[in-house]
Amino acid sequence: MRRIRALSLIAALALIGAACGGDDKAADTGSSTPVATNAVPASASGPGTGGKAVGFIFVGPKDDFGYNQAAYQGSQELKKAYPSLEVLTAENVPENDSATQVMEDMIAKGAKIIFATSYGHKDPGLKVAASHPDVVVVSQGNFVEGKMAANFGTYFGTVYEPVYLAGIAAGKATKSNKLGYVYAFPIPQTLANISAFELGAKSVNPEAKTYVVNTSNWCDPAKQAEAANSLISQGVDVLTQHQDCTKTVIATAEAKGAMTVGYHADASALAPKGWLTGSEWKWGPMYTDIVKTIVEGKFTGSKYNANYRVGYKDGENPFIQSKFGPSVNADTQKLVTDAKTKISSATGSPFVGPLKDQDGKELIASGKVPTYDEVEKIFASSFVDGVIGKIPKS
């Protein structure tokens, strides 16, 4: 008995060690790409120049195996690239007026650049940008309609590209032809993701359908558990998600013998058996380039002073594919690699027309390849045909 307990203690420690090891490795990859340390030019002028700090606000904790962890790692890579700038970080910043207050505090501490890293931080960010013309606020995700202020911008990767590739792995792996998607809110980015996942699966398995459940919360673990359980009891055998904290869905799937496609971060340690692949963020290079543009006084009018979207076609998508799990065979891996080459080409996209929505209405005309900007508009309130489940009405 004692021996068993000692063994399980060792196992627990090993797991913790593995988790920490994973973190270190991720950080190392960041630094091993030759990041020259940059100096801040003294003479530049314009919004965002002349500051001594850069502020980052996160909606959740920095160790959430998800969105916030990835953004936090990006901020730490920026710190390495710009040793002379202080990097201020604030976790668990709600998407309301408290965010405005946190950003004001950062500005008071000398920050002239603010990264508002959650979708709902956009509006507080716009408020701060309006009252501080000398400060640049950039919003991670979300979209500014109409005229863009000279000191504001939104940026994002094209998340649906690696999600499409993961859909291929899911479509090959499923035995029930039922895939499950646990998501938070019906925002365009999520609807495009779910549609891309279904299209990826359908491209290799015409019978594959994607069942959706939403939780109306970016991180309510109990609701996630219930959503995952519901989907699994409907016969779903591959689960994926769009949540900020991703542990619960993956752990629930693994416990019930279902397979998992990750999102936001490499969580393969949570699902040694069921992990297929996933998508994860690598923000460091983009954060560094945004800061470089700002401190050189070139922000206004630059590509970042807009709704900037970058994907496989430009080469530098900050959203990359996670490693494959043990059950994904070489044939499937090749299908994924080939598809990646295809959607990276000028005429490629997960969303090449003709595509229909759930009601059979045309979403994208035959032969049309939508641009990155167009995708979020096309999927403002539609799922592609093959997704089972309705978009919640408010």
């Binding site: 913790i16 959740g60 009891s233």
Partner: protein
């Protein structure tokens, strides 16, 4: 799995954390103390159970630690309101925020930890009964523990001398003093034990149900538990039905969605709370008459005679 079966299974699984908290709150309120800090005790239990499970590898050790942490939070409340006669409602809220703050602070480093959680365990024999087996006997060990806990609390309150003393502390503290017992001590013990139950409820969330720790992961379930106690007229057996009703409302939304029904999701999300409110409005007024004497002054807020 059909809809009824799935929602019922989800109701038991999801209602258990609320059930434990409601049982604990029943004990505290029977002794004349309302503890709005129940949510804080749940959070303390959820984090401590998760952290200790991560350290030791045993979720059972985690649950014991979680119960202790929940009891400790409640002890703070008990000492304030019993010893220093502070306002029960205000103190409960302070204890909640204390729990929220402390668990956010100390919990940050456990968000990324991985644990070996409780596993679903099918009870031999019972688990094979159609319907009943699926709903009640194919669950995690803490659900099974709750099957014993609810009757045990009832038995304790109504069939033991300790229960008589406890209820006297809530109804006739002077009589208790006259017999040479300290009502204050009885109340402090009752509130602390109540907090331990809430701690187990929190532990069920983090180590058996969601298998994760996140800041504020209880999301108001402690308050639901406090409301349920009133709805259940301070009866631990009725609290079981209340907790499962709430659990069913929670399980209904994903079960319908997974079947592709296009219902108003936002309306479904408020359903559990609307049901709790309705229950309070329908039964609440009558219920207050059943309230332990010591609680009536708290509910009426105005200083009673």
């Amino acid at each position: 799995m059909n809809l009824f079966l799935e929602v019922s299974t989800g109701a038991v699984r999801g209602g258990t954390s609320i059930l434990f908290a409601a049982l604990g709150e029943t004990i505290a309120e029977r002794a004349g103390v309302i503890n709005l800090g129940t949510e804080g005790s749940m959070l303390a239990g959820a984090l401590t159970a998760y952290a200790v499970t991560a350290q030791t590898g045993s979720p059972w050790v985690g649950v014991i630690a979680g119960a202790s942490a929940g009891g400790l939070m409640a002890l703070v409340h008990a000492i304030m309101v019993v010893r220093y006669r502070t306002n029960q409602l205000a103190t409960g809220l302070v204890v909640l925020f204390l729990g929220l703050g402390l668990t956010s602070l100390f919990g940050a480093s456990y968000v990324s930890e991985i644990i070996k959680p409780f596993k679903t365990w099918k009870v031999p024999g019972l688990g094979s009964i159609p319907w009943v087996g699926d709903i009640f006997f194919n669950q995690d060990p803490l659900v099974y523990l709750s099957y014993f806990a609810a009757p045990a609390v009832w038995w304790l309150l109504y069939r033991t001398r300790a229960g008589l003393l406890l209820r006297s502390a809530g109804e006739q503290p002077d009589a208790l003093s006259a017999y040479g017992y300290s009502p204050s001590l009885v109340q402090i013990i009752a509130v602390t034990v109540g907090g331990m139950f809430a701690g187990i409820g929190g532990a069920q969330l983090s180590t058996a149900y969601a298998n994760a720790w996140f800041e504020n992961m209880t999301q108001g379930r402690g308050f639901i538990a406090v409301a349920l106690v009133i709805f259940a007229a301070w009866d631990p057996i009725k609290a079981v039905f209340g907790a499962y009703l709430f659990g069913a409302a929670l399980a209904l939304a994903p079960a319908l969605q997974a079947r592709g029904y296009g219902l108003n999701q936002f309306a479904l999300d408020v359903l559990p709370y609307v049901m709790t409110l309705l229950a309070l409005v329908l039964f609440g007024r009558k219920r207050v008459d059943h309230a332990p004497e010591g609680l009536k002054s708290v509910f009426e807020l105005a200083p009673s005679s």
